[in-house]
Every structure is written in structure tokens, then in C-alpha cells.
């Protein structure tokens, strides 16, 4: 009997088909964007619309196949953790350690968007705060489910736990969308 005690540890590699499946699961907009190559109209969701309503000229789209923003008049720099993205958007920058590394070539003042930050799921509060300290240089938008950052979600709101531990201004746009500024 083989015992699995970690998803990504000593068991080694995940099969390539599963890698592809996970890649698409964490980038649900990609399927729709691919259809636009065949004449379909891209349907913006409420987060996309909120971003566009801000009137920003450019943004940094981190790990969610956010190149579709270029079709809506924004100049989107796309940072991706998986080389598969190069097949869809050759101009993507590939950075495998996104949670703990903010590349120096990114400008500080351009808004940074994390629309599906898979790495925040099951992150500890310390890891989450470290992530904020690394990434927040200007406006940073995070769309995530705060319940899945480890804390007692039956007793506390994550924001109430995180805000006193950071110097950043955190604004809750809605229950899953946080805008963070230095």
C-alpha cells in the first residue's frame, strides 16, 4: 500500500496531463480568451469590469493569463509561473517563484493584479504577510477567498487579523477582492 502524505513532495512529478489540467483550472479565463481567436466576444466578469472602470492605462497581470486586457485598451504585462503560457502568449514573463519573488524589472507604480492566486490557498498568515511585503509597492489587487488563508474563519475575519500586522492600507472592495496600497 502506497501512502500519499504530500501532494508535491517526495512523490515527485505530476503527470503532464494533470499539469495541463491544473494550469487551466487556475486560469479559468483562458478558455474564453481562446474562443475570441475564433470571433467570440470576451465577457468581462465583475472583477475585470471593476479594473477597467478604474481608468488605468496599464497593469501587471500575475499568473492568470491576463493578456485579454490588451483587447480592452490596457497595456498588460503578463507574469506567469508556468512555461505553458508561452504557447498562448509569447510575450509572457516566466517566473516560477511568484509568491516569494517580485522581479526587479517590474515598475513600482503600475497596478498589480492577482486574479486567481492559487498559491494563497492554504497559505499561513505569516506566508500571506510575507507575500504582501514582497509585492506591495503600489496599488495591488488580490481576488481570492480569504477563508482559505489559514485562520479561524469561524471566529475572525482575515482582514481584522492581517491589518494590524502590516503597514499597508487594505481596502475590502467586496468579500473576495482586496485593494492594497503602501
Amino acid at each position: 500500500m502506497q501512502i500519499v502524505d504530500s501532494y508535491s513532495g517526495k512523490l515527485g512529478n505530476i503527470r503532464s496531463i494533470q499539469q495541463l489540467r491544473l494550469y487551466h483550472l487556475s486560469r479559468p479565463a483562458l478558455r474564453q480568451w481562446r474562443k475570441t481567436r475564433h470571433g467570440h466576444i470576451y465577457q468581462l466578469d465583475s472583477v475585470d469590469q471593476w479594473i477597467i472602470d478604474q481608468g488605468w492605462k496599464n497593469l501587471i497581470a500575475v499568473d492568470f493569463a491576463g493578456w485579454y486586457f490588451n483587447d480592452f485598451g490596457l497595456d498588460a504585462v503578463c507574469l506567469e509561473s508556468d512555461r505553458l503560457s508561452k504557447h498562448y502568449w509569447p510575450n509572457s514573463w516566466i517566473e516560477p517563484d511568484i509568491m516569494t519573488h517580485r522581479p526587479d524589472y517590474l515598475p513600482d507604480r503600475t497596478p498589480v493584479i492577482f486574479k486567481y492566486p492559487w498559491f494563497l490557498k492554504y497559505a499561513t498568515q505569516d506566508q500571506f504577510i510575507k507575500f504582501l511585503n514582497i509585492w506591495v509597492r503600489g496599488i495591488t489587487l488580490i481576488n481570492f477567498d480569504p477563508v482559505f488563508v489559514q485562520h479561524n474563519h469561524l471566529k475572525y475575519n482575515l482582514l481584522d487579523l492581517i491589518q494590524p500586522r502590516t503597514v499597508f492600507k487594505i481596502q475590502e472592495i467586496n468579500s473576495k477582492l482586496w485593494m492594497i496600497e503602501p
Binding site: 500500500m1 502506497q2 501512502i3 500519499v4 502524505d5 504530500s6 501532494y7 508535491s8 512523490l11 515527485g12 512529478n13 505530476i14 503527470r15 496531463i17 494533470q18 489540467r21 498559491f119 490557498k121 492554504y122 497559505a123 499561513t124 477563508v147 482559505f148 489559514q150 485562520h151 479561524n152 474563519h153 469561524l154 471566529k155
Partner: protein, 163 residues
């Protein structure tokens, strides 16, 4: 919406280094270690995955004259603490033994008339104790593995032995 029956097997099949059909998660091993201690018939109230088929090699699973019950998965979906307590009491009341595994992220609100401790693990312990003081935690995971396996089989696992 994830199909949990399919998800668990799909995730295990995705490991390039796993070879056999007998691969199980560590929290499933904890359950197996408990239920195999008791030579009784168990009622299965868990997800219908390959793990159920594997368990049938080690324990008697039936529908009638069962002394034990195995509860986990989608049967405990999106509940408040009071609904969780009602559900677990209802599912375990007719049995001498029970294995219950809670997905902490499927408990979405606290509406019982007592205050919870600061940690989520202690809070779930308290709620299970409220269901029946004889519930004992089988294993404590300080940090969950970060990818997908929480939904495959919950990590807050409890045993109940009434005899």
C-alpha cells in the same frame, strides 16, 4: 463545483510515481487503522471513491445490522456549526462506533451559543465534543498540504467508541 468522488481518484492518478490501485492518502490510512481495529460491519456514509473499494478488502461494509459508521465528504457540505452537530448526531446515534472526518472549510459559520477558541483546530474539537464528549481526534495536521487533497479526504479526523 468539484465532483469529490472523481476528484480524489483523479488526483491520485496524477502522480507519475504511484503505480498501484492501492495508493491512499495519509488521512485515509489513519481511518483504516482505526476501523480495522473493530471486527464489525460498517455503514459507509463517505464519498464513493476507489478508497471505498480498497476498504472493502479490509473491513465489512454493509447496509443492515451495522455497528459502526464512516462519515466524511459531501454528506457534510457547507454547514453551520449547529447544522453540523445535528447532522453528526443524527448520522451516528444508532451506532456503537463512528469515524467522522470534517473538512474545516465546509464549516462556514458558527451559530451555537458558546464562544470558540482562537484556533480552528481547537474550535472543531470543541464542536465535536459538543456532538458527543466521547469523540476523540485521531490526528492533528498542523499545516495542510497546499494542493487539493483537503477536499479529497478531510484532515480533521475523529473516532467515537461508545462501548
Amino acid at each position: 463545483m468539484v465532483n469529490h468522488d472523481h476528484w480524489r481518484d483523479q488526483q491520485l492518478n496524477s502522480f507519475a510515481n504511484l503505480t498501484g490501485v492501492d495508493a491512499i492518502l495519509i488521512q485515509e490510512k489513519i481511518m483504516l487503522d482505526f476501523v480495522t481495529q473493530h471486527k464489525i460491519t460498517w455503514k459507509w456514509q463517505g464519498n464513493q471513491t476507489k478508497f471505498r473499494q480498497l476498504c472493502q478488502q479490509y473491513i465489512d461494509i454493509g447496509d443492515a445490522d451495522c455497528q459502526g459508521v464512516i462519515v466524511f465528504g459531501t454528506i457534510l457540505h457547507q454547514l453551520s456549526t449547529s447544522l453540523l452537530v445535528n447532522k453528526i448526531q443524527e448520522l451516528t446515534q444508532d451506532f456503537d462506533y463512528a469515524y467522522v472526518a470534517i473538512n474545516r472549510y465546509e464549516v462556514i459559520a458558527h451559530d451555537l451559543d458558546f464562544e470558540l477558541p482562537d484556533s480552528i483546530a481547537d474550535s472543531i474539537d470543541l464542536v465535536m465534543n459538543y456532538c458527543d464528549p466521547r469523540f476523540c481526534r485521531l490526528h492533528k495536521f498542523d499545516q495542510v498540504d497546499g494542493n487539493h487533497m483537503v477536499a479529497a479526504h478531510p484532515m480533521d479526523c475523529y473516532k467515537l467508541c461508545k462501548l
